[in-house]
Each structure stands twice: as C-alpha cells, then as structure tokens.
Amino acid sequence: MLNAQQQTTTQTRTDQRTLTYAEALREAMRQLMETDERVFLIGEDIGVYGGAFGVTAGLIDLFGPQRVIDTPISESALAGACLGAALTGMRPIGEIQFMDFVTLSMEQLVLQAAKVRFMFGGKVSAPFVLRMPGGSGTGAAAQHSESLENWFVHVPGLKVVMPSNAYDAKGLLISAVYDGNPVIFVEHKLLYKTSAHVPEEMYRIPLSQTAIVRQGKDLTVVATSIMVQRALAAAEELSKEGIELEVVDPRTLSPLDDKPIITSAIKTGKVLIVHEAPLTGGFGGEVAARIAASEAFDYLEAPIRRLAGRDMPIPYNRTLEYHTVPQVENIVEEARKLVRGEY
C-alpha cells in the first residue's frame, strides 16, 4: 500500500500508468470485490448497461448478477437495501444514477442511515457508500445537473466525499468502503473522462484529509470537485502574470479537515472559495466561517470571497448553462481582483 499522504498531486509523469476517473473507480470496485466478499454493487442499470455513465461497465461479467445487482427504479428501497445490508455485515456500494435522484432516497439516508448508530447508543454501524454523479455541463438541464452535496454536509452521521481527480477517486472510494459510516460519494460527470496517474495497488486516501494540490503565495483557492481542476487551470494562467495561487482541495467535505485551509489562509492572507453548487447556503459559507473564526482572521488582508453557482436551476441552453456555474475565466478574474486588492 502506498503512502497516500505523499500522493496529493494530480500531476502525471509519462512513465506512470494513467486511468480515467471512471476507470479508477471501476478498478477500485473490482479490487474491493475481489478481496472482500462482503462488498457488492447495487443500483439502477449498473449491470449489463454498465451504469448511466459506464462506471460499472463489465463488472457484472466478472462478478455476476448476485454481486452487481440491478434494481428497479426505487431509490428509497435502494438506499434502504444498502443500509439494511450494511447493518447486517455487508459492505454495499450503491449507485444513484444522477445525484438529483437522491432526493428520492433522503428519508433512508438522513433519518435512518445517518442516525442509526447514534440513536442506538453506538452499538451498530452502517458501513456503506452511495456513489452519485453530480454537476452540470452535459446539457441535461435542471433535473439531471444538481450539486446537492451540502444537503448531506448538514447531516451529522453522514460523511461526504468529493474526489476531484482519478487518483483521489480510487483511493477515496477504497477508504470510504472501509470507513464504517454511511458515505455520500459525489462524483462529477465532467471528470469521468479526465485522466491521472493511478497506481494498480489498492491504496487508500484517508477521509477527512484536506490536500494542498498546488503551492502558491498570493491567494488561497479552496475548491471542490471539478472546481479544483478549473482552479488549477486558472492558476497556470495567472502564473504567467506572476500571480501564484495555492489550490486547496478538501476532498472530504464532512467531517472537514479545516487545518490545512486555515494554515494556507494564514500563509497567503487572501482566500477565494469555489464550488459549483449554488452560492446561498453552500459549502463555501462554512469554509469562510471557519477561516474567519480561526487564528487566520488576524492574517487576512482581504475579504474572504466566494465564487459559486448562481442561485438558480441549471438551464438547458449551452451558453446559459455555461454561465450558471464558475468557469476558469471567472476564477482567473476573481483571483486577479483579490490579489490586486480590487474588490
């Protein structure tokens, strides 16, 4: 097993094996199922179809329909199936076809899974992972493009993981399966085809361990999921102007490891938070509050700023959709302004 803490960069060397985000997830699931008979997959169209985004493609051929279980369109019973199996010794990995549809599972997740351990005096655990693709950018319009992660961040008892690259996707999924808690594992549709170095070993990236994915002195950018990639692209562009961004990826949104964020804020004195989900009530508010309430307060040289999805449903039209959530150029512009003191 690799020391995952050393592997926090998404940079790829040419002599290293690369996999896409989807392939990395698939490899993690294959290895988990090969090494642990308690692990099984359950979801809608995950068998022969391979999942709506092809993440589980081919796994039914390796493990059969007993362990790669197609369900009817029943998201409540699907979540309940994960929970009940987890309570009785299994390690299910469920798939919600689009994150939007998890709204139909909320009772089982929020009122049952999140609370069962606490409510029963710590005497049971519910170790399951529910994977789901969130995010816009595919023209799927308002009911297939949601970023609902902060709903779950607000529910103690659940963990919320959002990998931003293929390497993290594999290591975080393996950790999530063995975490012992219900884990909401939020993937991003636009990341599925992105590649990174992914070792073959079953390495783990610990949950609740925030990563500094790029060092910089001028501005801390805390970003989640695909916004990490956009922040890195923005950083490359600004670097040409002599502005160096420090990009911080929480990877696990809840429970949040805020220390590296606070340390980075102290170092740069300026913070921009970027996420795709709507601004109001979003994860960025929590990050901003934690920084403002910490020892970093005395080091801040500028207001903490947030760049997030507009407070609106995701539109269908390509141009409108593009302008609904932060893009690279928005991050460049906002970061430049912050660094130059033009806010």
Partner: protein, 337 residues
C-alpha cells in the same frame, strides 16, 4: 372491516397449542402480561413527570407482538419494528430492565438513553430497532433480506409496521423488490385501525390491506391480531416460506390500540363505545381462557403469572431509577464510527 370471518377454527387452535406446548404457551401469555404491565407503568411514570418525552402505547395489541415474535427464531432472525414498539421488543425477548432504563433515558438503557421509547434496539439479538418514521423500517428490511441471501444463511427478517405505513411509497418499492428477488422477509402490517387519527376506512379503498400482496404476486393474509394463535400461525407459515427460499409474505393483523396515538392525543376521532367494544376482545383474557380450557393453565396459575409480570416491572423501575444518567462528556459518542 369485519373480523368475524377471521376466527381461527377450533381444531386448528388445538393443533397449534399442541405444537407450542404448555410451557411455551404460558411463557407467551406471561410476555403479553409483561407488555401490558410495562406500558401501564410507562403511563404511570409519565403522569408522575418522570418521563422526558412522549410515548406510543400498544395496549391491546399484545397478541400481535407475541404471536409474531414467537413464530420467529428470536435472536437468530432479524426484527425491524415501529414507533409503537415496546411490545415487539419485549416479545423478542429483550431485557425489561434495559428497556425501562432506556425509557427513562438512562445510560444502562439499550441505547444508552440516546434513543428513548421510540428507538429501542437490541442489536446483539438482531433486533435492529424501532423506527420513528412511519414505514422507515420497510426499505431497510430489503437490505437485511438481501444480506441474508448473499450470506446464504437461513435467517428471516420480520418487519412490523402499521396501517399508516402501507400508504407510504416506500412500502410499494420494498414489497416489489422483495418479491422480484424472493427475499426472506415477513411483512407484518399491524392494522390498529388508525394512523394517528386517520381511520383505515378513509385511508384505503380496499377491504383488507393484505389484498395489496397480489400487486407483488406474493401471498397476503389477514388474521385476527387479537388472537395470539392466529398471528403465530400466519407468521410461522410466512417465516417457513421465507426460510425455504420461497420469498416474502404480507400478513395483516387486525387489532386495536386502547390508548391514544401518543400522549398529546385527545381522541376526538373515535368514541368511548368503540374503545370499550374492542376491550371486550382483549387478547390477554382470550388467550388465558384458551389455555385454561385446554388444561394448560389454571385460574391460580394465571394469577401467579400476572403477579410475576407486575413484580418484574417493579424491579425494572427500580433498576432504571438507580441507573446513572448519561455523562455529558460522552455526548458525541456514536455520531460516527
């Protein structure tokens, strides 16, 4: 919904009693008495201001709890039940001291005082807990059934819910899934005539809730839930089917709660006469009479069981009273594994 046609045939009752045997029959009766005594004490403690929260009493429904649970391999099979669950836990064989302690919010309670009356679970004995959400346990039973199937054991999951739960969408999803996969689940709908204040006659456009089984192509049966033998019989057959890999069954037990939905209920939706009429069909004297008639119990024997039940409860009250409160320093215990 008339229940006259639900009477169990005398020959069948005799047969069942022979199968159960005098010793276990007396134990079942004693458990029914214990449930009644437990809940009477709950009311008393509430009136004394010793209870922090509310409670949902199942008085009148003891035959369903005991008949169903004794038809299972208690402690080996799985149980999921609902908010009106004191009787189910006691019938599953849970410890009355730890139950009373939980009711009082004490550290020695089943859930260390974190769950209370509505969330009693005895996970060491595979009682996966009472549920505060109507229908909340039904989807979970699908996962338990699936897990049993994947682990290839011969366990069965008994999931008990009320008439109100049968109108939740989760009921439909779960029964369908259990049916398509032949999961070893016994769905027991405890029809006590009211979902809070909503009578079943207004909430359903069918004669029997068990009719819904046909939509999932599984057996459905309605039994007299105030007859412990009738419930025992139906659940035994359903459990045997499940154990044999033949899939789930929906059993509806017709019963009645004597008390209101919870402590806030002024019972404006039903008459005193109606409650009185049901009390005439009280499951405890009915079963006692059966045992006496069958020569399995004497009048004195019944009195002994009754007294023992109340003594057991008094001891439980003392145990709970003397138990420590949870330490605030442990407040976060169990939020995460």
């Amino acid at each position: 919904m008339s229940d006259t046609d639900l009477q169990i045939a005398p020959d069948r009752a005799k047969e069942l009693l022979e199968t159960i045997g005098a010793e276990q029959a007396q134990e079942m009766l004693e458990r029914m008495l214990l449930i009644r005594a437990f809940e009477e004490k709950c009311e008393e403690l509430y009136a004394l201001g010793k209870v922090h929260g509310t409670m949902h009493l199942s008085m009148g429904q003891e035959a369903t709890a005991v008949g169903a649970n004794y038809a299972m391999r208690r402690g080996y099979d799985y149980l999921l039940n609902h908010h009106r669950g004191h009787g189910h836990a006691l019938a599953w064989g849970s410890d009355v001291n730890r139950m009373m302690a939980e009711f009082r919010g004490k550290e020695t309670g089943y859930c260390r005082g974190r769950g209370g009356s509505m969330h009693i679970a005895d996970v060491e004995r595979n009682n996966l807990g009472a549920n505060g959400i109507v229908g909340g346990g039904i989807p979970i039973s699908v996962g338990v059934g699936l897990s049993i199937k994947l682990r290839k054991t011969d366990q069965v999951c008994l999931v008990i819910f009320g008439d109100g739960a049968a109108n939740e969408g989760a009921f439909h999803e779960a029964l369908n899934m259990a049916s398509i996969w032949d999961l070893p689940i016994v769905f027991l709908c405890e029809n006590n005539q009211y979902a809070m204040s909503m009578p079943v006659q207004k909430a359903f456009n069918i004669e029997r809730i068990s009719q819904r089984a046909c939509a999932y192509n599984i057996p459905g049966e309605t039994v007299d839930g105030n007859d412990v033998l009738a419930v025992y019989d139906a659940i035994s057959r359903a459990a045997a089917r499940a154990r044999a890999g033949e899939g789930p069954t929906l059993v509806e037990a017709i019963t009645y709660r004597y008390r209101g939905h919870s402590k806030s209920d002024r019972q404006l939706y039903r008459t005193r006469e109606e409650v009185k009429a049901w009390m005439e069909k009280d499951p405890i004297p009915r079963f006692a009479r059966r045992l006496i008639d069958a020569g399995m119990l004497t009048e004195e024997g019944f009195e002994t069981l009754r007294q023992r039940a109340y003594q057991t409860i008094e001891a439980a009250v003392q145990f709970a009273e003397n138990s420590p409160e949870p330490d605030v320093a442990t407040i976060l215990d169990g939020v995460y594994a």
